[in-house]
């Protein structure tokens, strides 16, 4: 192994092989992935996933820029791969198609906080509690989620009366008398994004579990 060219060629071959395996082949396999087109119960043709629109799409940028991905994953692992589904983080595993239209895919690699792949679905029909962003410990005691008070504005209550958007804050978090805390545009965008997170759609590659019949014999 005294010859530079031999070492050089060997290394180039190894790197090209790795590049082919981990960049080119996955691109070939997934690069042309399309949304799933199906007909829903009402007979309308729907595409999944849909491109996020308006505030939710802008909220994805807020989510990225605050580095929420440092603590929150957006991937439900298969049933035989940990307790994600038993924990209620999703009804089925996350598949590649779920993230098709995310401008920046934020799968995440740490679960200091809960998984958010289906956060919007967990909220149900409730609106997103904005107070959770201002003071996470207000809704989940001992939460270590980073508060983002800079997405809110504390201002004197206007003569026209308190803003309908003002947060209901108690205890030490409450603003001084005569002031109120209202969300800024970015807070509303982030809330819209979190509200939009959900993957419980049946796909050919990921079936939803059958709804168990409560009366069925066990």
């Amino acid at each position: 192994m005294n010859h530079g060219p031999v070492i050089f060629l060997g290394l180039v071959t190894t790197l090209v092989a790795s590049w082919t395996g981990f960049v080119a082949l996955p691109h070939r396999q997934l690069g042309a992935l399309q949304p799933d087109i199906s007909t829903n119960a009402a007979g309308a043709v729907v595409a999944y996933p849909a491109v996020r629109s308006g505030e939710a799409a802008q909220g994805a940028e807020v989510y990225r820029s605050l580095g929420c991905v440092a603590c929150h994953t957006q991937q439900v692992r298969p049933e035989n791969g940990g307790g994600d589904i038993a924990r209620g983080w999703g009804k089925r595993r996350t598949v590649a198609r779920d993230h098709l239209f995310d401008p920046t895919v934020q799968l995440g690699n740490s679960r200091l906080g809960p998984d958010l792949a289906n956060y919007g679905e967990r909220l149900g029909t409730n609106s997103f509690p904005l107070v959770r962003l201002y003071d996470p410990s207000s809704t989940a005691t001992h939460s270590t989620c980073a508060p983002v008070p800079f997405l809110f504005e504390q201002r004197p209550i206007r003569s026209s009366g308190p803003s309908p958007e003002a947060l209901v804050l108690k205890g030490t978090a409450a603003p001084p008398v005569g002031s109120e805390v209202v969300p800024t545009l970015r807070a509303r965008q982030l809330a819209a994004y979190l509200r939009s997170l959900g993957t419980s759609v049946e796909l050919p590659e990921a079936q939803l579990p059958l709804v168990e019949d409560a009366n069925a014999p066990k």
Partner: protein, 477 residues
Amino acid sequence: MNRPAPTPACANPSCCATGLPVLYLLGGSILWLLAGLGLALLASLKQHQPWLLASCEWVTYGRLDAASRTALVHGFFSQMGLGLGLWLLARTGGTKMAAPGIAFIAGLAWNAVLTLGVAGILVEGPSGHSSLELPGQLVTVLTVVSTALCLLGFATFAKRADGPTVPAQWFVLAALLALPVLMITSQVMLSLFPERGVLQAVIDGWNGQGLLLLWLAPLALASLYFFIPDIGGRPLRSPAFAKLGFWAWVFFASWTGASNLVGGPVPAWMVTVSIAASVLLLIPVAFISLNLHLVAPVSVLGRSTALRFAALSAISFTLVGILTALTSPRCAQQVLGLTQFPVALRELFLFGFVGPALFAGYYAVVPKLAGREFPCRLSPVAHIGLTVIGLGIMVLSSGVGGWLQGWALADGKIGFPEVAAHLQIWLKLHTLGLAVFALGQTPVLANSAWLLVECLLPFGKPALALFTETSTAGAGK
């Protein structure tokens, strides 16, 4: 250090040409180490004290985390590794570094870009890709700069004197070839023309593993392969083992790209291949470890600071190789993946293996280039002592905490708040370990700064004399 005093820098012409850019890269990396650890310490504190500086958007946990990783990986590990790698190519080739002026300018650009980049992460937020958090435009500049530096490495290698090549050269070449491939691919496919969907995560994972195993690890191994025999005074036990270890390392390491995506929404074959490669990495780990451990028996460790750091590095290398192989299989990753356990392995790899290997080189090379020994002899002892204690606390707290966190998360009946609450104590311990570790790195900065002042004094004296003469003359009038 009982080694004979190094020859003065200018007695050897090869040192003068190579010295300045190498010293610049090494010195700059020490500053980044301290900056990165400061950011990491703040981030670690915020893991359990979320209200600390909460009203300041710049120091949100997510941004601090990304900024500290960037400062450490690109500022400290990469820069010091590159400086040592270029020095090693010149030294083992018996030649001068090619175009030292360009190397120096590239080093300046590297640091300027990185400073802007880390500031950019704090102000604008990270890119969202964990292996390359810097803002896109800056990555373009960094890609050009790093490619230029790697090309200079090749040019230096091409100028080498005839004779057999040595393992240190192979490893540096592997690293210098891998970095541009990783940088250009991730730059093009994540930033310029971003891939759609989870392909981003695939490329991010491949780039991240590549930066650790094909860029930093070969540079660290080059340092160990060169300095352990050089300072220990014994030749490598087996050249055949070195060859096998090298090729097996490069081959298996390049196929571990998706090992952090177990259970994720990516093609299953990629994960399977990556797990297999992570386990098979035990083969090169065994070959390399045997070769290194046999060369440096405990009896020679007292000889120099550099050897002590090299020994710490070699032990961590073996340990992290075995732990990675044991915890890579799917059944282990389903529990330990996405917890603090991978953090422990990463810290053992970076701060236990790569860092000490580079510091072995630092303590050996800087006195040669500066032409004088480090002024304080106690400082390296404090450095290695606190490094070992801090690293031990960090790795154990993340490892045990992550292990317990993983098992708790796998049990769907335990509520998430409870899991998070039980993790608290381990996160606090981790902060303590990190604080000790960071404190342990300050002596090397002080020692290096002192050395710099001593080196500059001879130039300073005439200037000072000139200044005093003028002022006395001025006063006499």
